[in-house]
């Protein structure tokens, strides 16, 4: 196999010069990129053998007031996982879509939009996918109080079990 990760990374660096690939373990790398450059960067990576997009993850960094979006890429040729991380502001959470590069991204983005409220510019279909009649704040955000929601929406019942209070019949 002619592919070496150093070569591929060097080629990417000629286009994006202030990028640092951080080595996490033997076959895992991470890289931080600004939101504006992310789409062009991901497209370059796709052409440089990172053709498989495993996952798009959103992390609510509430202390910093940001959302972190992580694109997990995988290279079948080299067996390398590359985590491309970008940050967006939590109040104006808008980021361009990558569905032009990986069509399946449409659904990951739809999922993130539903659970975090991040808007993906250019994705035409951000309808709710899983939740039904959801009117609250997106539930995976860290400031969503699930206990309060539960108390408001579901009746509280005292825990009492009939079969314990009544005298039970002896087993046959």
């Amino acid at each position: 196999m002619s592919f070496t990760n150093e070569n591929a990374f060097r080629e990417v660096k000629t286009v994006f010069n202030d990028i640092e690939f951080e080595k996490i373990s033997e076959r895992k790398y991470a890289v931080n990129i600004e939101k504006e450059k992310a789409v062009a960067f991901l497209e370059t990576l796709k052409r440089k053998s990172f053709s498989h997009m495993s996952l798009i993850t959103c992390i609510d960094r509430i202390a910093e007031g940001e959302f972190e979006i992580v694109y997990t890429l995988f290279s079948w040729e080299a067996g390398i996982v590359l985590l491309v991380k970008t940050r967006i502001d939590r109040r104006e959470s808008v980021i361009p879509t990558v569905m032009e590069i990986w069509p399946t991204a449409r659904f990951y983005e739809r999922d993130i939009h539903e659970f975090f409220g991040v808007k993906f510019e250019g994705n035409p279909d951000l309808r709710p996918l899983i939740l039904e009649n959801w009117k609250e704040m997106p539930p995976m955000r860290k400031d969503f109080d699930s206990e309060k929601y539960s108390n408001e929406h579901f009746p509280s019942r005292d825990y009492s079990v009939d079969f314990l209070s009544e005298r039970s019949e002896p087993d046959e």
Partner: protein
Amino acid sequence: MSKEVKLFIGPNHPGMHGNSSVHLYVEGDTVVKARLVPGFLHRGFEKLMERRLWFQNLALIPRICVPEPDINEMVYAMVVESLTGIELPERAQWIRMIILELARISSHLMSLGGVGGSTGLYTMNYWTMSDRDRILDIFEKITGARVYHMYIIPGGVRKSLPERIENDILDVLDYIESRMPEYENLLLKNKVIRTRTKGIAKLTEKEALEMGVTGVGLRATGLPYDIRKIDPYARYDKVEFTVPTATEGDAYARFTLKYLELQQSIKIIRQCIELMPKEGPANVRFSDGSALRFKVPAGSMYCHVESSRGEYGYYVVSDGSEKPYRIHVRGASYPQGLYGVEKKLPGTRLEDVALWLNSMDFCPPEIDR
């Protein structure tokens, strides 16, 4: 005059695997538009896990994927180990491989049995499900549970193998091997099944790569991409096995591959039993104090394994506390379940919808989570 009719496959349908629904717009027998409607199984695991200790989550994670729970435990353990830097004892790695491959056999048997729902060949269903039960018996002897084992934990496995279990495992493998010709006669050499599945639910190499399909769906198009070979975990680089591929990319090719992978899994388990260190600890102490106060250093990590359906991974973020900050699950059937249904079903016949779902190993619990 043609008229479009809306039909529903699922959430309760013999051709549907689990609780999920496909909305179909049909003209005559031809699908015009298809859309997957998930959500019937959403249990909010990702949110639940953020509010529980690293160790409490061990009881939750196997339940994310119902047909093959062990891969969840494996990925979770791999993530925690790489974040904390725990070194595993050698024996634990091999025990894990035995468990994972047994789980792959049981999952493939279940999936091959699923052909009953989609084609009407219910004999296959009864045969594979009863044979799968023998593997569940083995699981019960090793872990104490039949389906959700909670056996692979960070730092190794919960306890070592019971005495003389190797003989039981080898007996079951021999039995399944003796059944293989019968499966072949019933399924792969069956004229009805061949006519019914050849050329159906086709996927080309280009489409599979573009969609991000992994596992059997990708290998049926000719690419030998298996994470066990390409990004080896546990001790998969120490055992010999081949990755079966086919070039047709249709439902029949996928059934054939599942059948061939059964043989490879059997081969791997036999090597594991032979190569495994016979003595030694099966786990290490991962924390100095109580397991409930167990903390994982801050950081984020993605680990993935080859499940019976394809790439299965967890993205985990820790902020250094006793609970995970965020866990995101990459279900193996996400691309073919959501994008694949919308893209590939239009133009096919109504009765082939169930074949797509079955042969591509569609699994609703990992889409809903």
